[in-house]
Assembly symmetry: C2
Homo-oligomer: 385 residues x 2
């Protein structure tokens, strides 16, 4: 028997009742019934994103939301400041390049958080920046960036602040309006507990001003067209309506749990996972870990694929390795969305056994015990890293 556990930083596991929504007969997306669903999910997304801003629903991966954000906000030849600290942050720059946007990058070492003071400096040096493009949770390094502090810096400038919250929102505190996030990009397949296929952009009035100032080279991802339809709880093109029905079910779960509790659950799982990893003598990759995933360095003398393959084959647990320059150097464990404390403990137990079987000197139970101590509050978060 193989019982799969998808401990990846997206796609993440989906609750059974949400999956069953997907199996319901398709309804017409222009029907009154479909409109009622859009009304409800729009309100629900605003709660999850902590925003009163407009929320656009796109049928695409999260990258589509990033593209919509970039091309609608910065005209060709305009300037964007990309807070480049990982594989996905670099995608902002790639999108800019494809559309002739002048992307100035503020490079931060992978695994380190972006420094808000450095952002302030960069903005002083580039006062014509139209948009600062950052990341809440950098999935490639498992780093959480200080978005609240960066938001304060950007708010003092004429630039808007765009945040890739794809693997962050729902897994980490994110107060869109309070923190001055003008364009928040979110994907369905992470902490929102859905399969991939939907993306969202929350757009502030400050962002709409930029967007209204020019005609973007964009059709499918045109935010003005999306706003026009969203005002009537509709979408410009046929949406992935089955996923929107599932979204309604997922949002009802989040509302019932409450966002404060959802964030707290992820914080607990994150700290427990970190404690377990550290107790095994492994090194966390990030100096400021994100709360939806834990990345650790592959120990000297071991191969990441050996670790991940054994986790998968022996224990049914899927994890991911590193991307780009981190290929082979880290292992990433996701704990977001429909994941609970027992999933984290099970994964740590499997990791202990995996490392022991691969010949590393590991005392079984050590990681599990360390995680348990966090979960019962016997060990403070501060004592973990």
């Amino acid at each position: 028997m193989r019982k799969p556990r998808l401990m990846t930083p997206g796609p993440a596991m989906v609750p059974e009742d949400v999956l069953l929504e997907l199996a319901r007969p398709v309804i017409h997306h222009r029907s009154a019934e479909a409109k009622d669903v859009i009304v409800e999910v729009t309100a629900g997304l605003k709660e999850v994103f902590c925003t009163k801003n407009d929320v656009m629903i796109l049928t695409s991966s999260g990258t589509g939301a990033m593209e919509a954000t970039a091309v609608n906000t910065v005209p060709p030849g305009g300037k964007a400041l990309v807070l480049n600290a990982g594989y996905f942050a670099a995608r902002w720059a790639s999108i800019c390049k494809a559309y002739g946007i002048n992307a100035v990058t503020l490079d931060t070492e992978w695994g380190q958080p972006v420094d808000p003071d450095a952002v302030a400096n960069a903005l002083r040096q580039n006062p014509d920046t139209a948009c600062v493009m950052g990341t809440l949770s950098e999935t490639s390094t498992g780093t959480g960036h200080p978005v609240e502090a960066i938001g304060r810096v950007v708010a003092d400038s004429p630039a808007v602040f765009a945040v890739d919250g794809i693997s962050g929102v729902g897994a980490m505190e994110c107060r869109t309006d309070e923190w001055g996030i003008d364009l928040l990009c979110v994907g369905s397949q992470k902490a929102l507990m859905l399969p991939p296929g939907l993306a969202f952009v929350a757009v502030s009035p400050k962002a709409w001003e930029k967007i209204d100032a020019f005609n973007a080279h964009s059709f499918y991802f045109n935010l003005k067209a999306a706003r026009k339809k969203a005002a009537d709880f509709d979408t410009p093109y046929t949406p992935a309506h089955t996923l929107i029905l599932a979204l309604r079910a997922a949002l009802r779960r989040l509302r019932e749990e409450g966002m404060e509790a959802v964030w707290e659950r992820h914080r607990r799982m994150s700290e427990a996972c970190q404690a377990g990893v550290v107790a095994l003598g492994l090194e966390l990759f990030s100096s400021r870990p994100a709360e939806g995933l834990t990345a650790f360095r592959v120990p000297a003398g071991m191969k990441d694929s050996d670790i991940r393959n054994k986790l998968a084959e022996r224990f049914g647990i899927t994890t991911v390795g590193g991307q780009d320059k981190l290929k082979g150097k880290i292992v990433r464990i996701g704990h977001m969305g429909y994941t609970d404390e027992m999933d984290v403990i099970g994964t740590l137990a499997a990791l202990e056994m995996t490392l022991a079987e691969l010949g590393r000197d590991v005392e079984p139970g050590r990681a599990v015990t360390a995680a348990q101590q966090v979960l019962i509050g016997a060990r403070s978060a501060a004592g973990v890293g």
Copy 2:
């Protein structure tokens, strides 16, 4: 009790076993298991499209496939010839406009088929045309265009032939390679029997030459990036993988039925529906009806909404009205994908009762009988229109 029947030209009904695929636990899209699925669906799509060309899988509505086609094939300032004969054909021109492509439109009256000779003329007048953009089945008017004959005309020119086959492919014969279709755009929610959320583009070597000749302003819909990943049965960004699992199930059904039989089923349903509509004294809107839907004019003195609302409320049958300048003027009945002869007969019976209840002089059973005569072969297709 309300038993819904989605007789719309997309989204169309989805088989129960395909819906259940959607409820399966999410797997990681970069896993070996996921790759096997992409291998199988890529082969299956090629069979359905009758092509040996590369097939790209996009997570978007069909409009995304059209945008990918336009922006990757024609550089800004380049020329496209749009075969403008309906609401969706006009979308080609809108996409071109958004991206600075010079769209020359060949206008055909809505409901009439595009004339291949007129296309030849237009190409002679515009020898610098990079791409001819046409439609297999114009969903807004219920018209099937002579794509095979147009393809022969375009093949003689340096231009490539792009076809919106979104509501056509699977419902009408479409031999991509034989007919010289260089870029075929297809959506998931029509005759492929899936919910909305996936789109496909089949790209010929002649089209790749155009695409390779410049760097398109495109990131999410960049076909070069898609080709690079497709070579390894992967996608550039996280795909709507749940829908791809369902696609595998739907393609297995199509393969089992066989494309010739699938086309023949749609032809039969189409002729039966037309015969029924005509038997009620109603006027078909199109002079060359598509085979996935039937459009008829709203009779003088009646309102389209009265007809459609009664069909929906009394009989659970969803149809659609006209779009844009046809608003209020036509009713469209879809019969594509997971639709059978009994669905068509039921819809005609409901239409008879609806018209009778709305005060029209209708003899119950007339439309049903006419449809039955077609279905048992007692009445030839030629005698219908």
